[in-house]
Amino acid sequence: MAGVVVRDVEKAFGSVKVIHGINVDIADGEFVVLVGPSGCGKSTLLRMIAGLEEITSGSIWIGGRQVNNVPPKDRDVAMVFQNYALYPHMTVYDNMAFSLKLRKADKAVIDERVRKAAEILNLSDYLQRYPRQLSGGQRQRVAMGRAIVRDPQVFLFDEPLSNLDAKLRVQMRTEIKALHQRLKTTTIYVTHDQIEAMTMADRIVVMHDGVVEQIGTPLELYDRPANLFVAGFIGSPAMNFIAGTVSRNGSDAWVEAGQGVRLPLPADAPAEAGRQVIYGIRPEHLMLANGSDGVPARVEVVEPTGAETQVFVEMAGTQVTAVFTERHPFRSGERIALSPRLDCVHLFDAETGRHL
């Protein structure tokens, strides 16, 4: 097992630069998720770590060894592809045994390791089947099995769950996490699904347009997003953003939003009066207020999911989402008042998007 270090890595395809100097340190045994919207460069970064893409500049180290010019087969990494990339003409057994056979491992060793991996992944009954004869989830497990039998230094996952249906995705998510806890192999996992990132990662690397926006544990990102992008990307339903100007009067502080609406701020809010800001508040941090205490809002759509109810309201000319675990009998068009939890308010600079 080994850590992975990414230093000032850049990647250009011809004249188009897609990754602009990335630095990430991944500790031995860590489960790191690279997350970001399509085209942010996360898969390219993963492929550079695997050796499938050349590095334009910078360096990548695996287990203390610089691997810039090491071919994929000598990097001792295993990868699980989005489309699984199982060899269709080989049985499950042969798919898993292929890398060991190429390495001319002893037959008994191959057999032992394949059977052990199959047992871990519940594939023992399917060893003689061909990939065509398996369901999506089983193919996914074979792809993982192929990675496990090699006992590599690093596992790389490239959006492995995006071809599965929603229910199976949740199940496989747990299985991959359990597998990591059992094998403790350094894992780098790429996804565009922030829920996958939140639920699986030890640490998350949020990427956007070829740069790292923030690196941190899931809850760090959730509680202290570094900028508007991370705040909007992490969390579902997404954080509400309302533009306005900071105003102060004695110990009172608030953000003056559109239509004369005042959004309350804690007195120690790190912004001087007159500053243009974006007011950020997560849906679950909006409380139902009594009459004139809160910020006026008009109910537009109510979506009960059973466990909680999402309410879409119009507030200060902006659509805002609130989530309640209690069941309120709201009707569309009803006027209500919401009060943000002051300790959970985020302020972002309107120009730079940085967290204040």
Partner: protein
């Protein structure tokens, strides 16, 4: 408002007819009829007639009578016929092996990112586009005893003293024709195999590379098995086309010198039309059928979908 559906007031005869026409079996027969009649008229009838003529002594301008196996018995003792069988097998085997070797090599080259890829692919198709007779005439000139560009070039290079007699010597003629056939056949093989190569997912190669396979192992364990299905289809067609080749031979050598390049197809034509012995020609042509059936059956079993290609059924 509920509408009561009344039985339509049509005559019982019409109702029966429409019920019959709705039957899937009847319908499928009716729909297949046009295509089937074309096949019967233009393929089955000539084939049947040819086989029948092989059992008669029909000549041009004279209807024949049934003579049983006499044509075949006389062919059995006919050295020229056996020479043409030998030539056909040699021609088919050597040309097919070369076409596949070179065609696969070309397809692999074209599958890489080359500069001017589209242009090169278009050029590769060129031999296939040119009418066979036209390219045969070109080869005839290339192999000409006096004006051969090959002999001329080799002499200028100082490699030979005397012009090569490409078409006058039996073995030279055979190899020359095989070369012409290979030249014409490569594009078909190369383009088909290229199409096959492009269906192979690049991530399989990436997975193999990560699994530790070198270039040869990736070719051996990914490319070859994935290419097998299309390879066997192309192989079948190529064998059939080569075995029944006529145009190239007839335009370049007409079977000469001394029948050294007669294939079964050219010999059948030679005996039947210029020679007037329609019955004997038909017998030679019919004698090709067992070989072709063997090739087709062989490839039918070779072509059978491999287990890994089949659907999700249990073992």
């Amino acid at each position: 408002m509920a509408t009561v559906l009344k039985p339509q007031s049509v005559s019982p005869r019409l109702a029966t007819l429409s019920r019959i026409l709705d039957h899937p079996t009847v319908l499928s027969v009716i729909f297949m009829l046009p295509a089937a009649s074309i096949l019967l008229l233009f393929l089955t009838y000539p084939l049947g007639l040819g086989i029948w003529m092989g059992f008669t002594d029909v000549r041009i301008g004279r209807p024949g009578v049934f003579i049983g196996l006499e044509n075949y018995i006389s062919l059995w003792y006919d050295g020229v016929f056996w020479l043409s069988v030998f030539n056909t097998l040699l021609y088919t085997t050597v040309a097919t092996v070369l076409k596949f070797g070179l065609g696969l090599w070309l397809a692999l080259l074209l599958n890489h990112s080359l500069p001017f890829k589209a242009f090169i692919r278009a050029i590769v198709l060129l031999p296939y586009i040119i009418p066979t007779v036209l390219s045969a005439i070109a080869f005839w000139w290339i192999y000409d005893a006096q004006f051969s560009i090959i002999s001329w070039s080799l002499e200028r290079l100082g490699l030979i003293d005397r012009y090569i007699d490409f078409l006058g010597d039996p073995w030279n003629a055979r190899w020359s024709l095989i070369a012409a056939n290979v030249w014409r056949g490569i594009p078909f093989v190369a383009i088909c195999l290229l199409a096959g190569l492009q269906t192979i997912s690049p991530s399989l190669y990436e997975a193999a590379a990560l699994d530790g396979a070198n270039a040869w192992q990736r070719f051996r364990h990914v490319t070859v098995p994935m290419l097998m299905p299309i390879l066997s289809i192309v192989l079948t067609f190529s064998v059939l086309f080569t075995f029944t080749d006529f145009q190239l031979i007839y335009a370049i050598t007409r079977g000469g010198p001394m029948n050294a390049t007669h294939l079964m197809a050219t010999l059948a034509f030679q005996r039947a039309i210029p020679g007037g012995q329609l019955g004997e020609g038909a017998a030679i042509a019919t004698a090709m059928i067992p070989f072709l059936v063997f090739a087709t059956v062989f490839s039918y079993y070779g072509l059978q979908r491999r287990k890994w290609q089949q659907g999700a059924a249990d073992d």
